[in-house]
């Protein structure tokens, strides 16, 4: 892994998916060995299929959610393969970028 400023380079994958798909995506993260993730429910915005309202008062499944996961580069390819399969048939976006973390052991299974 590259070392910069004492930090360790890893890969950050951010996805915006339907609230209904959050459990699937979080299972996917576990399958490839991610140790955790961050979820922000009820995000709003404009996309390919029109405007998406943010928080709905009585429905947590029909909105959009933003999930962020950080993992080692050698695991990222597997996750991206699964996510590409997912986005082949469902709406949402995936953004992949390099990131640096201070405690890499937190992001890898022992």
């Amino acid at each position: 892994m590259d070392e910069h400023w004492g930090l360790t380079q890893m890969v950050k994958v951010e996805v915006v998916v339907n609230g209904d798909d959050v459990s699937l995506i979080s299972n996917l993260f576990s399958d490839v060995g991610a140790t955790g993730f961050t979820a922000v429910p009820n995000v709003s915005g404009l996309g390919h299929s029109g405007f998406h309202q943010g928080r709905l008062a009585f429905n947590d499944r029909s909105g959009l959610a933003l999930l962020t996961v950080v993992l080692a580069k050698e695991l990222a390819g597997s996750l991206i393969a699964g996510l590409r399969e997912h986005f082949a048939t469902r709406s949402g976006v995936m953004m992949v970028s390099d990131t640096w973390v201070s405690r890499p052991e937190y992001f890898q299974q022992s």
């Binding site: 459990s23 299972n27 490839v32 709905l56 008062a57 009585f58 393969a81 996510l83 997912h86």
Partner: protein, 817 residues
């Protein structure tokens, strides 16, 4: 295969399983039965396309057929119960048949595998197949199958041993098996569809466990990947044993699937075995057109009825305002209550917009009290006051005595040896009790209630709002109170008594009891939601904050919680102890009104029951609920057809025959459409699920109904099978949708009627894809009464509005461009 490839394959399989499972409905455990649109994951498609897609995999017709008049204006499909065995036509389920041929597995082998897999699932769910470390079905099965004698008979000693030697993870095993079967990766998804649709019931439970249950849910870990891994492990061993050419899947993909029609797919799966496919009758009339015609006829009748209502007069000041759930069963109660006295009624989602978990005193497990599409955000609990602590603890002790006795009795009854001893020892007592219970159900119910009361010494424990971990803060409580009152349109002119009324249903010997309780409370009874909401509305600090927000609840107004028992037609009021004595006479009038409304509703409902006899109609409904042999204790939400979002003035005085979800809405108080949006994306979606559950249980009972109740056996508390085993049954029992004359439920897609300006409705629909999909896909239909011009407007699937008139003589309405 290296580690990276293995991980990539896991990820890919995980997604493909989820995609394949779109064909499968979701089956909640029986104790929290939720009515759900079985095609919910296909709502990206139009209704017509979704039906077409599902019918490639399951014997689903998707439309009612056969005009049979029943009652006023209802046209329903007729179905002889034996008619469920009509042979299927060969041109349906070509996807299923196609994959089976590709897999090179015979129909007999599929049937045998379905039987074995169902048995393993049942053994796992009921705890016989042990899983002390909670690793899931596949891991447990892997250890169990090595000792399974039926596998030795089928696959031989060596074949059976191979089953237990697969990889420890279900996804890895599944990938290995699919490769061993020579299925090209392009065909995996179809193979997964085949595997799931072969046992749609167990797959539906696994889908709930995989996609909907909380990861830390205590229910058995039976996942979609487990089911598929086991199925294809066995198939791989079968193929290896027989030395047959493996799958010729890629070759078959190029063939015309319609050419392979010689298979009798009655043997394909238990789900497919009872197909009722009626395409021979379809040729006469397009079933979609026929359905739409029926829906428009219902719409015309409804509009005609609502248009004839007199303008609302200034009613006398109500002695009580009663807020009931939007459930269709509340419509009749509201109508009668308004008849018998100066009551004002409102309809609101039965969890009162309070998404909480509720912890009963003495219980360690909180229960979610909100629709399954809402995540509970806080917790409320019962907590006795100091002077009640002793009595509360005595009640818990009594409940423990009753629970232990019941557990001991059930354990003895279910044990192979002790069940005989129980019959010998307890027969003298049990036999006369059984006779009394059968011949005099109301007497038995009363005796049991008194005995239980003596042991339990029930005491009413108040809901505590004390702030603690997970409890709501004052700010959250104020926010809830304001939003709930504004949503229900109750912000001024408060009556001396305001009752928030949840609902539940008292029935005996009924595995589907929770299906008659409240969908808005995840299949639980609704009294606790009402009690929690009332505790907040009565809190002085909350009222003080509401005053700052222009909602002035008079000090003398008291909120009370109630629970409408939809089987007994009674309303139980809670927490009356603190009511000001000055209100006692008013409260007595309220109680009498509620009782009278219940009596009238009971009479009305009794007339709809099979075997109704005029001589005993007063007690008919109540007796049914206590009769342990009664398979139709109440009709639940049968015949539901529309969802009305409007002020009560638009519907007051109309007899809507318990077919309408009624949600109060005042368009003048909602200029930005926020309240309308909350109603349409929350309660309306739940109403749509209920509507589609009844619809598909009615038109495709062989797949989406759980069949005849009298044949049901409960498996592990999570579902039922018909007879001694096989697949879990989906949907509602036949007794919930039909009587001796045929269908009681009229299968129509939900008509949503909204009283609001059209541009506001457009704005709400425009920013919510789920509403666009439901409307443009014709899963629901929208009729608006513009609050500005008073005209009726139909929204077409392309978003264009056309005025609607219902005037012509045959009751059919028409659109004007």
């Amino acid at each position: 295969m290296n580690d990276t490839d293995r991980l990539s394959e896991r990820a890919r399989l995980r997604v493909e399983i989820d995609e394949a499972a779109k064909l499968i409905p979701i089956l909640w455990p029986l104790t929290q039965f939720i009515a759900v649109n079985p095609l919910w994951d296909l709502v990206d498609l139009s209704f017509e396309d979704a039906v077409s897609e599902i019918s490639r995999w399951l014997p689903v017709a998707g439309y009612p057929v056969g005009p049979v008049e029943r009652g006023t204006g209802a046209v329903c499909a007729s179905r002889d119960r034996r008619g469920l065995l009509e042979p299927p036509l060969q041109e349906v389920c070509e996807g299923l048949r196609h994959v089976q041929r590709g897999l090179n597995i015979s129909a007999d082998q599929v049937s045998r595998l379905n039987r074995e897999l169902s048995n393993w699932c049942a053994l796992y769910i009921s705890g016989v197949m042990e899983d002390p470390e909670q690793r899931g079905l596949y891991a447990s099965w892997r250890e169990y199958v090595g000792q399974d004698p039926s596998m030795k008979r089928w696959l031989g000693r060596q074949g059976r041993a191979m089953l237990g030697e697969g990889p420890p993870l279900a996804l890895d095993s599944l990938g290995d098996s699919l490769r061993a079967l020579d299925i090209p990766t392009s065909g995996w998804e179809d193979a997964l569809r085949f595997g799931l649709t072969a046992l749609p019931g167990w797959s539906a439970y696994a889908k709930w466990r995989t996609r909907w249950a909380s990861p830390d849910d205590a229910s058995p870990k039976l996942y979609l990947a487990d089911l598929l891994a086991i199925r294809y492990s066995v198939q791989a061993v079968l193929a290896s044993n027989l030395g047959t050419p493996r799958a010729s899947y890629s070759a078959l993909q190029l063939r015309d699937v319609h050419s392979s029609s010689e298979l009798d797919h009655r043997d394909l799966s238990e789900a497919g075995s009872n197909a009722t496919v009626r395409s021979d009758r379809w040729s006469e009339t397009n079933p979609g057109d026929l359905l739409r015609k029926r829906e428009l006829r219902y719409q015309a009748e409804l509009v005609s009825k609502l248009s004839r209502l007199p303008q609302a007069e200034n009613a006398q000041t109500p002695i009580a305002q009663v807020v009931l759930c939007i459930d269709v069963r509340s419509e009749g109660f509201r109508r009668h209550l308004e008849e018998v006295g100066p009551f004002e009624t409102f309809g609101f989602a039965g969890f009162f917009a309070l998404p909480v978990r509720f912890r009963r005193w003495g219980s360690t497990e909180p229960v979610a009290l909100c629709p399954v599409i809402v995540n509970p955000t806080a917790e409320v609990e019962e907590r006795p006051q100091d002077d009640d602590l002793g009595r509360a603890n005595r009640m818990i002790a009594g409940q423990q005595v009753l629970g232990s006795t019941r557990a001991a009795f059930d354990g003895t009854k279910n044990d192979v040896i002790s069940s005989f001893l129980l019959a010998e020892a307890g027969g003298l007592f049990a036999a006369p009790m059984m006779v009394i219970r059968t011949a005099f159900p109301r007497l038995y119910g009363e005796v049991r209630r008194r005995v239980t009361g003596l042991i339990e010494c029930p005491v009413e424990i108040p809901i505590s709002l004390q702030e603690s971990d997970g409890a709501m803060s004052l700010e959250e409580r104020v926010l809830f109170a304001e939003s709930a009152l504004r949503s229900m349109g109750l912000t001024k002119n408060f009556a001396p008594v305001v009752i928030l009324c949840g609902h539940g249903s008292t029935t005996e010997n009924n595995p589907y009891a929770s299906s008659l309780d409240r969908g808005a409370c995840a299949g639980n009874r609704g009294g606790a939601s009402a009690r929690a909401a009332v505790a907040i509305f009565n809190e002085p600090s909350v009222r003080a904050e509401l005053r700052k927000r222009s909602i002035e609840i008079p000090d003398e107004t008291v909120f009370l919680a109630g629970e409408h028992d939809t089987a007994l037609d009674t309303v139980k009021l809670y927490d009356e102890r603190g009511v000001d004595p000055a209100l006692h006479s008013t409260l007595e009038r309220v109680r009498r009104g509620l009782e009278e409304a219940g009596r009238l509703l009971g009479q009305e409902r009794a007339r709809s029951f099979p075997g109704y006899q005029r001589s005993n109609h007063t007690l008919e409904a109540r007796t049914r609920s206590l009769d342990w042999a009664q398979v139709q204790p109440e009709w639940g939400l049968a015949r539901n057809a529309c969802f009305i979002v409007a002020p009560r003035s638009m519907t007051k005085g109309a007899d809507l025959h318990n077919r309408s979800f009624l949600h109060s809405y005042n368009p003048n108080d909602d200029p930005d459409g926020g309240v309308l949006e909350a109603i349409l994306t929350g309660p309306m979606v739940v109403g749509h699920w209920i509507n589609m559950q009844y619809y598909f249980s009615s038109v495709d009972p062989q797949v989406y109904s759980s069949g005849d109740k009298t044949l049901h056996n409960v498996v592990g508390g999570v579902g039922v099978v018909s007879g001694v085993g096989g697949d879990l049954r989906l949907g509602l029992p036949l007794q919930s949708i039909e009587d001796e004359h045929g269908l009681y439920h009229e299968p129509l897609r939900l008509l949503v009627v909204i009283c609001a300006p059209r541009d506001r409705i457009d704005a709400v629909v425009g920013r919510n894809p789920i509403l666009r999909r439901l409307l443009d896909g014709e899963w629901i239909f929208l009729l608006a009464r513009d609050s500005d011009d008073g005209l009726w407007w139909n929204r077409e699937r392309n978003g264009v509005w056309k005025t609607w008139s219902s005037g012509n003589s045959d009751g059919n309405g028409e659109c004007n461009g």
